[in-house]
Amino acid sequence: MLLLAEPGWGKSSLCAWMIGQGRQPATLAEQGRRAQIMNAWSASYLCSTTSGSTINPTTFSRSIAEQLASRFADFAAALVRRAAPGQYNASITANEISGQAIGINIATQQIIVEAANARDVYEHAVRLPLVDVVAARPAGGRIFILVDGIDDALLFGRNNIVDLLLASGDFPDRVRFFLTSRREDRVRLAFPPSEHVRVVFVSDDTWRDENDKDVSAYIEWRANEPEIQAWLASTGLERAAFVKQLVDHAAGNLLFIRFVLDNPPRAGAVGVAVPTGLQAAYDGFLARIFPGVGAGPDPTWTDTGKPVLGALTVAVPAAPDDALPQWLGPSRIDQALQTVGQLTEWINDADGGSRRLYHRSLGDFLSTQRVQSTDKEPLGNRFFVDPRMQHKTITDYYFAAIKDQWDNDWHECDRYGLRQLVPHMYALHALTTVKSERVGVAERICDLALNEKFQEAQREKLGDGTATIEAIRLALDVCVETGDAASIRRRAHRVAESWEPQMRAFAAQAIADLHTRDPKAALDELKALLS
């Protein structure tokens, strides 16, 4: 089942609730009901772009395999047979295999990781063991797997989680996937409705009554807050009528109503004081802070609000406090945070404290050039922050700094830059439409990712090879897309000789991809690697 909804409907909250996270229901009966739902899931996984690692398909496969193995002894046995063939006795029974040794192996990800290629990991650690389990006991209990936010997973590039899930379409009834996504065309095209795929648009009118009940319950839960009470009083309405007007205005969107109630107007009728829809709410809120935007140049917005919100829109997972002034210039930051602070949140992380937008939908709004208006005609977004420019601002800073400030020593670079510079360049590449510019960006990505000094600094300052491996993946990805055969061969050859198995897997994939375009060049490269 694929559940589609607009941003803010509450997909992620629903999923989190269903797997036991978040607020505990008030009554014992509701607690029991949730426990029942929670226990029904055999495995669950929440994708989020704000946490880069969760959209990694290998991480996804490992997580699902671990959960299934810890829950089903027969899956653990099948996993070992498939993921480590011949290295354990295939006749071992399920009870034996769920013992300590296998538990440790799975916990340490050894068996699962052995295939360094994401597709192989999924195939051997998830898909094939599931096929075996179902084939052995077709009438066994249902296996439910929840995956939230698969639209976020698309940002990973090729061989993403959606691609992996597409390979699971042939499972029999015993295995059921519950997927959620925004109304993203690529997801809808990947999973068209069929006898195996049920698609539900939960933010459609069909579900309006149900959604309204949830929104109404949420408003009632917060209605006693003093600021909301004051607003209610100013309207002269009965509480029930006030709630109903808000519910109608929310159109089923929980985030919208949360945003409105977090920033309630001091007074005024609902229809006047509250805009319609989440994007309008964001627009209205920003218009209160930056009233001049849209009427002409507003330096408060262009010089302070826009750069900071822009940077936060593209920073993954958040912009470090120390790095933000470097990217944008120190004078802009304090003032900007004073004005837009409500739209951001501070988190304590390994970078020593960072700031991010309070919800992803705000980033979506800011990076949308044309927004939907009430009469359905798209209008220009006066608060548009071009994401390409934001990526460029960040990458420009690091490339200038390595030359002008750090004397070509990448050890001087901050941890964020070592971790995210290549991903920002990758995004810049994806958003660049002029071919010659794209090729130029691709070349810079490859040069940087393969730069030994850069890699050395990454390993030393970040503590392991994770960022390097990810950078190489992205570099080879753009190289295969934009490079010629000689360039792909040169880059793949260098990566092929790495001691990181994942990198070797990327190099192998690049050569295999080259083979589809130029079989002779690919075969020549393979022979060269054997020389």
């Binding site: 006795n89 192996n105 890699q455 092929a496 000789e497 198995p501 022979k527 690697l529 020389s531």
Partner: protein
Amino acid sequence: MTLISQEGRRTAFRAAYLMGERGRELFMWLSGEDRPAARRDALQSLYLHWLRDRQFVFGLMDALADDAMPLPPRWRRGRVLRFLAYLSITIYVNHPEDAEVVKRTTTLWNHILRERWRLHQLLSVFRASIFDHLKAIVALRTLQTLNIEELADPELIFRQQPEERARFLRMVPLVDPATRIDSQHEREDLKTLLESAILPHRILGALIIAIHAVDDPTKTAKMLGELRPVLTSQGLLWATIAYAVPLPDTPEAWVAQLESMTNELVDRHRATFMAEEGGILERFDIALLPLGLAYGKRGNGMRLFETLLERGRRDDPALAARIIRGLAPVGVYFPYAVFETLRVCADAFRDNGSGKAESGKARIADALVDTLSAMRALHFDAVDLFLQEIRAPDAIRTKISRQESSQVVSRCALWLGYYNNAVHESVNYPIMRDGLVIAAFEALGNAHSPTDFTHAYTASVLKLLKDTDFELTRWMERPAHR
């Protein structure tokens, strides 16, 4: 990052697998090339890949069969034949119990011998030369496995005394599991074989024990229990090594028995266990392999090794290093179980920067490097991922990457593979037991030179081939009178 061609070669093989059928082209090309390191790595990689994707490798072997010819190795098609033979033998001898392997292998060689070379026809142009190739591929390799030059003086067997020769020959029939090792004479002969200075005698003694232990573990354990107190340390070592049988369905009862035997070896015969007296362990360290295989098949941890390792790390670094090195061949078969056992030692890599070469941690770190390098020859990615996971320093990873050591893997694949196969054939297939196993030992027992053996054994194999009309499936028949 290093620039080591070994990594590049493995990447090339991986890319070829990703290309599917078109990727076979690389192996087809390499099989005819004179590139020993690349061929060796390809064969090991193909064996490992076969465990995951049999059809790719079987398909490759079928394709190679059409190119292989009984020609000298300086000719491309001769090299193809050797590549194919090595791959086919490695898969077969390590998985002789696997029905699909048996079927595909016999079909493959039926195709080569009958349809390609037409050996069953009297006028086959290859018939004259097949004797030489059987000698080169089958008889010589069998001799090399029975009388391993790297492990002992190969001349000893040919210079043995008449009573030694007589004892050897009268014990050969005991490879039939239907026989009994009941009499005192037989037990004394078995003890003498295990303690002999002549390597094939020890191998025969071990093989007899293994065959009977597969067939009747309780009775064999009892017999061995009575024999153990009178065995010398070398005798006990070989009685233990006898159980180095990778067949997946060996009895689980072996675990307890081998824990006891291995523990006795460590505690009461330390010099032998530490390979201070020379012998097989100095060159092919398989003292821990029998128990390691039994543990790996059971799949529930390696208790004795963990205990010994803990003891060694606490106050006996030499023992710890010895255990770690001894786990290398175990890791060839059960890499993940070995990683779990070794994980506690990972700190030796990190705290080993003092430069005190003789410090305990340095010894342990060196042993880890040796073991992981050896395992890496087969489990290339798995070892690298393990090093990544335990955050091994770059210097250690470089060291392991540069220490190419395929010896342990190739010895396991071939020597132990042949031994494994001999156990399986002797227990299950009378025609092969008589025509191959007994024939080989009898030919060796009667030989006064390598040539004597190769002639006699080649003639036996050729006779077997002719008797079964070059139809290898018939080797698996069980005669009615048996």
